[in-house]
Point group: C2
Chain length 380, copies 2
C-alpha cells in the first residue's frame, strides 16, 4: 500500500471514526483504525464491537485531488497515536507506505514516522445489513430527538435495557422513549417511509446516541437509518455508523402516563426554569434535590426548597392558566430541570393527578414531546 | 445590616473573593464570605488562611449608584451557595437584610431567600501589613512573569518549599525562580522601587500565583506589591490579595547554571516546538517522555523518539546557528515543551555542556528569561 493524501481530509475522517475505537482495547486490534486503499479512495474503519464507524475519502472531489494512490492495500494503525500525529504533521500532505509485516511509514515535510502496523485480516468484520427498507430523517431533527430524550435514560448497568432509548416506527411516526424508572422523556416525529414499514423494540445505548449526534451536522441534510435484526446503520454523508441493538425487551411505559389531571397549569417555560434552578441550588446542598410546588389562594404558585444548614428559597410565579384542585407536591428538581431545558416552546403545560401520581410536562405548541417525573412522598 | 445593591457589581466582587474560600473548610466559617457594610460601601472578604482576598464596592461610581445602605453591619454567608444564587437572581438589584442571630434574607424580584448566616466576629482577621515600602509592576508584565516560571515549580508536597516560586528584589531587578529539581525557569524584570529597597527568599505557592494571575487584567495597570515578614499583599484595583510566604529557605540555584557551553544552537522557536511535540507524542506512549537530539554532519539536527510497541518518530531541523562540538543528548520532552511554550521570541538559544550537564534555553531577543532542563542518562 502506498499513497499521498491531503492532511485535512484525512484528519477529518480520522476524527469521525476514532470515536469508535476502544480507548482500553481488550485486544490491540480493537484500539486501531483500519485503512483500506483502492484506486477509488481511502476507507477508514474503527470498531469497539458495540459501535463501528466507517468513513470514505474519495480520491478527488469537485475542487481538487485529495489522494494519489500508487499501490492499493490495507493496514491497521493504533488509533490514539495516529489520531494525534496526523493533526500535527508539518506539511499539508503526507505519504503513507506499508512495507513488510505491516510496517508503516508516514512522511510529511521534515517528519519521518515509522509505525508498527497490525494485520487488517484480524480486524472485526462490519455487520452486513440488507438494505431492503430504510427511513430518512433530517439531521437537525434527529439530533433534537436524541437530545430531548437521551438524558432520561438510566446510567445504571443494573438494568442494561434502560441505559438505551427505545425507538419505534409505526404509521410514519418515529417515536423515541427513554426512562430510568424515576422520569421519562418521549419525542415523536413524522418521517417519510415506505407504506406499511414499521419496527419496534429497537433499543440503542444512550452513549451511542450521544456519539451519533456529534457526527450529524446542524442542518436538514438527511440521515438514512436502516434497521436490521440486531444492528442499526446510520448513513451520515460519507460516514456509516453501525450500532448494536441492546438485548432484551423494553418495558411498556404507555400505561403509566396519566391522561386526565386534577390540576393543570400553563407556565412561562423560562421563568419556571429559572425559579426551579434557584430552588435546586438550595436543595442540592441537602443531596435530596427536593423542591416543593404549591398552588396559592391568589392563583399564583409557590416553589420552595429548604436546607437545615443553609436556609430556604421561596419563589412566587404567575401562571398563564390554572385549573382544577389546589395542589402541594414535591419532586426531584434536577429531573425537572433536565426536562425543562429541552422544552422548546415559550409556554408549557404541567398536569398533576394528585401528590402521589406522575407529573406530566409538555410544550403547548405541539404534541410531539412529553416528559414524566415521579413525585417524592414527603411529609409536610 | 440592610442595603440594596446592584447584582452585577456584587457578583463581580463575589467572584473575585470566592477563590479564597475553602471548598472543604475545616470549620464552617472558613467556607464563608464576610460582608461588611458601611455608608462608604461594601467590603467582601474570603480567607482559607493561606490566601485572603478582599474586594471593596463603593456605594457609587462615576456612572451610577451601586448600593443604598440603610443600616451598616456585618455577616458571614456560606460561599458556595451565595456565589451561585446571586448570579441567578431574577432582578438587577437585590436587598440584603440581616436580622437576629445573623439570619439573612435576600430579596430580588419574586425570589425570597433566607440564609443561615455566621458570626462575623469569628471570621479570621486579615494580616496587618505595614506599608512602608512597596513596588509597582504593570499587571500584564506580572502575569507574564508568573506564567513563564510557575509551571516549573514542584507539585510534590514532599519538598514544600519547591512548590513555590522564589521572588528576589535587588537593585531594581525583580527575579522569579521556580524549580522541581529536574528543570528550572527564571524570569527577571526591571521595576520601579525606592532606592535601596530589596527583599530575598520570598517564596509564594505556585497555586496561589495562578489564582493571583486570574485577578489581574491583561493590561498595564499597576499591581502594587507589599512584602512583610510572612505575608505578601497585592493590590489589584479594588482588590487586596494576601498570600502567606512559604516557610523555609529556598535552595541556591545560581551555581547549577552553566555559563559556558561546548555546543551552542540557535533555532526557530515554533519549528523546534512542533518537532519536539511530535516526538513527545511517541515518547508519551512509553511513559518516559524521552526524546533525543543529535547534531548531524550536514549541520542540521535530528530529533527522535521511539516506542517498542508503536515505532519511531524522526524529525530533521535546520539550524540558524550551530557552533561547538557534535552532540547527542536525551531529555524529558514534556519539560522541554513546557519551557518552549513560554518563550516569546522567534528564535531561541540552546546551550549544552555535554550529554550529562544541564541544558540551557533562552530567548535570543532579551536576557530576562532562562530555562534549565537536566538531561537523561540513556544508553545508545
Amino acid at each position: 500500500m502506498k499513497l499521498t493524501i491531503r492532511k485535512d481530509e484525512l484528519n477529518e475522517a480520522i476524527q469521525q471514526v476514532s470515536k469508535a475505537s476502544s480507548t482500553r482495547p481488550a485486544i490491540p486490534i480493537l484500539g486501531g483504525i483500519k485503512i483500506d486503499v483502492t484506486h477509488q479512495g481511502v476507507t477508514l474503519t474503527a470498531s469497539d464491537t458495540d459501535i463501528s464507524i466507517q468513513s470514505f475519502i474519495p480520491v478527488e472531489n469537485s475542487e481538487f485531488i485529495i489522494a494519489k494512490v500508487e499501490k492499493p492495500g490495507s493496514v491497521v494503525l493504533p488509533a490514539k497515536f495516529f489520531v494525534e500525529i496526523v493533526k500535527k504533521l508539518p506539511s499539508d500532505e503526507l505519504e503513507i507506505e506499508v512495507k513488510e509485516h505491516h510496517q508503516t511509514s508516514i512522511r510529511s515535510g521534515s517528519s519521518d514516522i515509522q509505525m508498527v502496523g497490525l494485520d487488517p485480516e484480524e480486524f472485526p468484520v462490519l455487520p452486513s445489513i440488507e438494505e431492503s427498507e430504510s427511513i430518512s430523517v433530517p439531521g437537525d431533527l434527529l439530533k433534537a430527538m436524541i437530545r430531548q430524550t437521551v438524558f432520561a435514560a438510566s446510567t445504571s448497568e443494573q438494568t442494561p435495557i434502560l441505559t438505551g432509548a427505545l425507538w419505534n416506527l409505526q404509521e410514519g411516526q418515529l417515536k423515541f422513549v427513554a426512562t430510568d424508572r424515576h422520569r421519562l422523556a418521549s419525542r415523536t416525529a413524522s418521517v417519510v417511509t415506505e407504506p406499511g414499514y414499521r419496527f419496534s423494540n429497537v433499543v440503542i445505548a444512550g452513549k451511542t446516541l450521544v456519539e451519533l449526534s456529534r457526527l450529524i451536522s446542524d442542518d436538514s441534510s438527511q440521515v438514512e437509518i436502516v434497521v436490521a435484526d440486531n444492528q442499526v446503520l446510520f448513513k451520515v454523508n460519507q460516514v456509516l455508523f453501525y450500532s448494536r441493538i441492546l438485548d432484551g425487551t423494553y418495558p411498556d411505559t404507555s400505561k403509566i402516563i396519566p391522561q386526565e389531571f386534577q390540576t393543570e397549569l400553563v407556565l412561562h417555560t423560562k421563568k419556571l426554569t429559572d425559579a426551579i434552578d434557584r430552588a435546586y441550588l438550595m436543595s442540592r446542598e441537602e443531596k435530596t434535590n427536593i423542591v416543593r410546588l404549591a398552588t396559592q389562594e391568589d392563583g399564583t404558585i409557590e416553589i420552595s426548597s429548604s436546607s437545615t444548614e443553609l436556609g430556604r428559597v421561596t419563589e412566587h410565579l404567575e401562571v398563564k392558566e390554572l385549573t382544577g384542585e389546589p395542589l402541594r407536591i414535591a419532586f426531584n428538581s434536577k429531573y425537572m430541570l433536565d426536562a425543562l431545558k429541552v422544552i422548546d416552546s415559550e409556554y408549557l403545560f404541567i398536569g398533576f393527578k394528585g401528590a402521589m401520581s406522575p407529573i406530566i410536562i409538555k410544550p403547548i405548541d405541539h404534541p410531539y414531546s412529553l416528559h414524566l417525573i415521579l413525585p417524592y412522598r414527603t411529609t409536610g
